[in-house]
């Protein structure tokens, strides 16, 4: 007969659990102990995440920085805010986050969900507009004739700023598209066509876009600490009508910048990924509604 074990906080493990692999089965008598340990872990984790990818928005009284030509300078390290909900969903600004998919778009979504692995997970560029819906910070370097967006995963896009530029008749398809920047007052308008139609998700939730995608981003910097985009997304193959996506980012700390990130260095997980993003929660984000709790943290003094 296997002797029943318990850990240092009195949590009983089932007889079937091995010495090394233990299954979480807490008892109600241990609630107080768990509470202390969990809240301690939460405090530590919250602090860690507060220094992380997204931040609380705040008001700024600092004026918009400007370049020598008088136009706003978008340079900076930009972080999303906790107000962007649902994150990663290109339908964020639509009622019920419901995208106006055509039948072909519905079929493409089904294909993405059931037959494709997230392209970013296998180190394929997310492209636009997906990067604008991402929770990852990005960095902008802005010059008079060109603007560079630098993304995690070591991706970048370079957009010429020139009112005289016109789109090509048949641009080579790419993940960011053929992008042209023009000023309309203090708004930088980036107009993009010529997108890929394979191995692309338009957002984290595996929504699709086709090669007919046309994206118009209207970027502003209302003060020193914010940049904002109003995005028009048109794709007559997959969407019955144009729709919009807007978002604001806040300026990171002076010592924050994009770091080296080689996506394919050691992509062990690629062989373990299922198709699609997994379940989408009612709040429009990817993930499980009711994950099983982890075993309680081990109080440090008990080790």
């Amino acid at each position: 007969m296997t002797k029943r074990r318990s850990d240092s906080v009195g949590r009983a493990f089932p007889p079937s659990a091995s010495a090394g692999l233990r299954l979480f089965r807490p008892g109600i008598r241990t609630v107080a102990s768990y509470l202390v340990a969990v809240l301690a872990f939460v405090a530590v984790s919250t602090t860690a995440h507060a220094q992380g990818l997204t931040v609380q928005d705040f008001k700024s009284n600092r004026p918009t920085p400007r370049m020598a030509n008088g136009k706003p300078d978008f340079s900076g390290y930009w972080k999303g805010t906790t107000d962007t909900k649902p994150g990663g969903n290109i339908g964020k600004d639509l009622p019920g986050w419901k995208l106006p998919l055509t039948p072909a778009g519905e079929a493409a979504l089904k294909h993405n969900l059931t037959a494709t692995v997230d392209p970013e997970a296998v180190c394929i560029i997310g492209g636009i507009p997906r990067h604008n819906a991402s929770g990852l910070p990005f960095e902008v370097l802005h010059g008079a004739k060109k603007i560079a967006f630098l993304y995690w995963y070591s991706y970048f896009r370079l957009i010429p700023i020139d009112a005289a530029l016109k789109h090509s008749d048949d641009p080579d398809p790419s993940f960011f598209g053929e992008e042209i920047g023009k000023w309309e007052g203090d708004t930088l308008v980036i107009d993009s066509i010529g997108f890929k139609d394979e191995k692309v998700w338009i957002d984290e939730n595996a929504n699709p876009h086709s090669d007919a995608l046309h994206v118009v981003e209207r970027w502003t910097r209302p003060d020193a600490d914010h940049i904002h985009v109003e995005t028009l997304i048109e794709d007559p193959k997959f969407y019955t009508k144009p729709f919009t996506y807007s978002r604001t980012w806040v300026l990171g700390k002076p010592d924050e910048q994009i770091q080296e990130y080689s996506c394919s260095e050691n992509n062990v997980d690629a062989a373990h990924l299922g198709f699609g993003p997994g379940p989408i929660r009612p709040d429009g984000t990817r993930g499980y509604v009711d994950p099983a709790p982890l075993p309680p943290p081990i109080p440090r003094t008990a080790k």
Partner: protein, 145 residues
């Protein structure tokens, strides 16, 4: 709705679930999405497990760090486990450094098992030999933070 499920398939209902979920929500903050891939594309949120094993290999790499444990099963056989955590940059900003993992160390890993049944775990919380607890979660991957 996912339930806490042991690796042997036993479903558990716990009075702590609500508290833990609330804690998770607090930590997750705004729930932004960020990670290299969705938690739910790789891991099963119903299979929360704890590993207690010996560290045999460390890969402090992108897009995730991996470390490998030898874990004894109840028969005394050694089973090899692959543990996946966030990216090096994110982990080091939280105070978890490469030097915190030394071959031969005994570490405790709490996380969720891979959906495909491999001996692979999303190492969301790691208890280091000195008792320090570090978060290995990939921030914003939609998984429990």
């Amino acid at each position: 709705m996912a339930k806490p499920v042991a690796a042997d398939g036993v479903v558990e209902h716990t009075p702590m679930k609500t508290l833990l979920l609330a804690a998770g929500i607090l930590v997750a903050g705004g729930g932004s999405l960020a990670a290299h891939h969705s938690f739910a594309a790789e891991f099963d949120a119903s299979k929360a497990i704890r590993l207690n094993g010996t560290l045999t290999k460390v890969e402090w790499t992108n897009p995730h760090i991996y470390f490998y444990l030898d874990v004894k099963d109840e028969s005394g056989n050694v089973v090899h486990w692959t543990c996946e955590s966030g990216a090096p940059g994110a982990l080091s900003r939280r105070g978890w450094k490469r030097g915190d993992l030394k071959l031969g160390d005994t570490v405790v890993v709490d996380g969720y098992r891979a959906k495909n049944g491999a001996n692979m775990i999303d190492a969301r919380r790691v208890t280091l030999p000195d008792g320090r607890i570090v978060s290995g979660a990939s921030a914003g991957d939609g998984g429990p933070q």
